[in-house]
């Protein structure tokens, strides 16, 4: 020991200075505040996304927007049957101006209004505000059609915004994707987590997750240029690009998601479950299928729900491989148009603030809502899984 040597930190009264109080580190304090503030940015981000997507769509939701190229006309008799206030507003006059006019002048103005309305468009639908909810959701017999139909046709003289064809298109592609990807990735998750050797697992898991590294524009390209023709030859359907092709390509995009979550869930089941089953003489497969899978079922649900959310929100794959025709049909082999593809294809042509622009933001808000919800549901499933396993472990 080098006692005797003086130490630079040696102090005459060693305890002097401990009572200097807590708040004497302003820099530290400031930095901590800043860290806290910045960490709230994730919340702010989600919040802003919601606000700014919903904000643009709000006028439609509230019924404040109109797409009618012609206004509703009031026939001449209206002058007697309607209230003066209504007529005044219809003619676009101030109350003073309106009071100053005599009846003849009012009749002249009414006639003028009728004339201009007629001139504006011959189409009887020109006066329809296609942004009202019933036109967005219900079939309507447009002039020139022989039966009520649901049509998405924003760029035409009458802007038709029925979103049902897009919902159907989205659902078709999503269902194909889920039917393709869920069984495949679930089976793979069972194999990787329960049956493969640990050494093999070290390779298989990252291998499958590599699929997530393929950009969706490349999957779309692959669907469009390679799979489409191949599948058409095999199945012999008519239109080369359709919900089926898009759905399969979409499946590639969601396999890594469903696989990862399901694999995590299956792996989180304690080994003691398996050992118990194995001790009773069951095979590894029986233990995986009868013991582990049922125990991990909430996690499997979470995987499916998240896969659904991902499929609904995926853009480039469907934009490139679905054919993009907004047809209402039950066939998977018809060309189809999804919500995401619609936004991607049309937003660039819209004018800021105009109803088509707002309509696309409404679709975006819808997407946001659906994926937000599926996230919450998945989260609650995972939470339930954790609780179950904790309760039993």
């Amino acid at each position: 020991m080098t006692s005797g040597t003086t130490h630079p930190l040696e102090n005459a009264d060693p305890w002097a200075g401990i009572r200097r109080g807590q708040q004497r580190r302003p820099v530290e304090w400031l930095v901590e505040r800043a860290i806290h503030a910045i960490s709230l940015s994730a919340i702010v981000g989600v919040f802003l996304i919601f606000i700014f997507v919903a904000r643009e769509a709000l006028p439609i939701v509230l019924g404040r927007a109109t797409s009618a190229s012609a206004t509703q006309v009031i026939p001449l008799e209206g002058l007697d049957t309607r209230s003066p206030a209504e007529i005044q507003k219809y003619l676009g006059l101030t109350p003073e101006q309106f009071a100053a006019l005599d009846r003849d002048a009012k009749v002249d103005l009414m006639n003028l209004k009728l004339e201009t309305a007629k001139g504006a468009s011959k189409d009887r639908d020109a006066a329809v505000n296609t942004l009202e909810w019933r036109y967005l959701l219900l079939p309507y017999q447009w002039s020139g059609y022989d039966k009520p139909e649901m049509i998405w046709q924003p760029v035409s003289s009458i802007h038709k915004y029925n979103i049902i064809p897009l919902l159907i298109g989205t659902l078709k592609a999503t269902i194909v994707a889920l039917l393709f990807a869920v069984p495949l990735s679930l089976a793979a998750a069972i194999y990787v987590s329960q049956l493969s050797s640990p050494r093999l697992k070290e390779w298989l898991k990252p291998g499958i997750e590599l699929l997530a590294g393929i950009p969706s524009v490349v999957l779309g390209f692959f669907g469009l240029l390679i799979m489409a023709s191949f599948l058409q030859e095999v199945f012999g359907y008519e239109s080369r690009l359709n919900a089926f092709v898009a759905g399969i390509a979409l499946g590639f995009a969601i396999i890594p998601v469903t696989f990862s979550i399901a694999e995590d869930a299956l792996t989180s089941v304690p080994g003691s479950y398996v050992h118990g089953a194995l001790a009773l003489g069951s095979t590894r497969w029986q233990a995986a299928w009868r013991i582990v899978l049922p125990a991990a079922i909430p996690g499997v649900f979470a995987a499916v729900v998240l896969g659904f959310g991902r499929a609904v929100g995926e853009t480039m794959v469907v934009l490139m491989a679905s054919g993009n025709a907004s047809i209402v049909s039950a066939s998977l082999f018809d060309s189809t148009r999804t919500i995401t593809a619609t936004i991607a294809a049309e937003l660039a042509e819209t004018v800021f603030g105009e109803h088509h622009y707002r309509m696309l933001f409404l679709l975006g808000a819808l997407l946001f809502g659906v994926t937000f919800l599926s996230n919450l549901v998945a989260e609650s499933f995972i939470h339930r899984l954790k609780k179950q396993l904790e309760g039993k472990a």
Binding site: S41, A42, A187, Y191, L204, S216, M316, T340
Partner: protein
Amino acid sequence: MAGAGITLAATLLILLILAIILGNVLWHGLPSLSFRFVFSGADRDMFDVNKAGILPMLVGTASRVILMSFFVIPVGVITAIYLNEYAKPTSATTRVIRSAVNNLAGVPSIVFGLFGMGFFIHFAGGSMDRLFHPGSAEPVWNKPGILWASLTLAVMTMPLVIVATEESLKAIAPGLREASLALGATKLETVRKIVLPQALPGILTGGILAVSRAGGEVAPILFTGAAYYMAHYPQALTDQFMDLGYHVFVLSTQSPNVDQTRPILFATVLTLLLLTFTLNVVAIIIRARIRRGMRAAH
């Protein structure tokens, strides 16, 4: 045992799909991938097989992901530090932040595009134009540009950085923090001198994953900055840019003659894949190292 066979078959099928995609792109793309193709501009004709080059797209994509990293890495890392080092794990704020991060990760990329347009271009850009360029006839900030595209991508990839950083923070043996604090270090000193250096591999992984993910994304930049064609490289934060992924889309869907432009399409896809895949593989390797380290630490 048939069930076990099916699961093995499914695993192999997924790997086969991966192999087919990669093999196809490699097979058709490699012959057209030349030094000239990668390092020359598209200034002559971007659809001409013998003249087209993708340097402008490479530059554009690289610029936007680098710019994005400047935003997303600090914010993501700081958020992760807050969640793991400062916040009480059970507090309401922590739970809300975690839930927000989870949800952010699930928001469709096209919605980020809408957000970028509504928030960055029209709201932020519009306000900046009113403030700084009140008389200008042409919008300066209130239009698509590389800054807005990068910011949009930064919001999108934030969960990746947060999650990866947090994972590496959790892998640090708790004894190290105690040792530092017991020596009279403040929390901030401990974070700066002990925790952060240890978390560096995880931060790196997060950054790489974010770059690789954002590098291949097209939907968020469709309306926030990507250009179909530009005669010059982006010079300012307000300029648009050409982009590798977007170029794949253009060549796939808007080529005047798909069969003729096929070779450059495949070569472009191959380039894009090489970039994103290399980054992904690097990230996976670092991550595996961290996980192994974590098992050793606990």
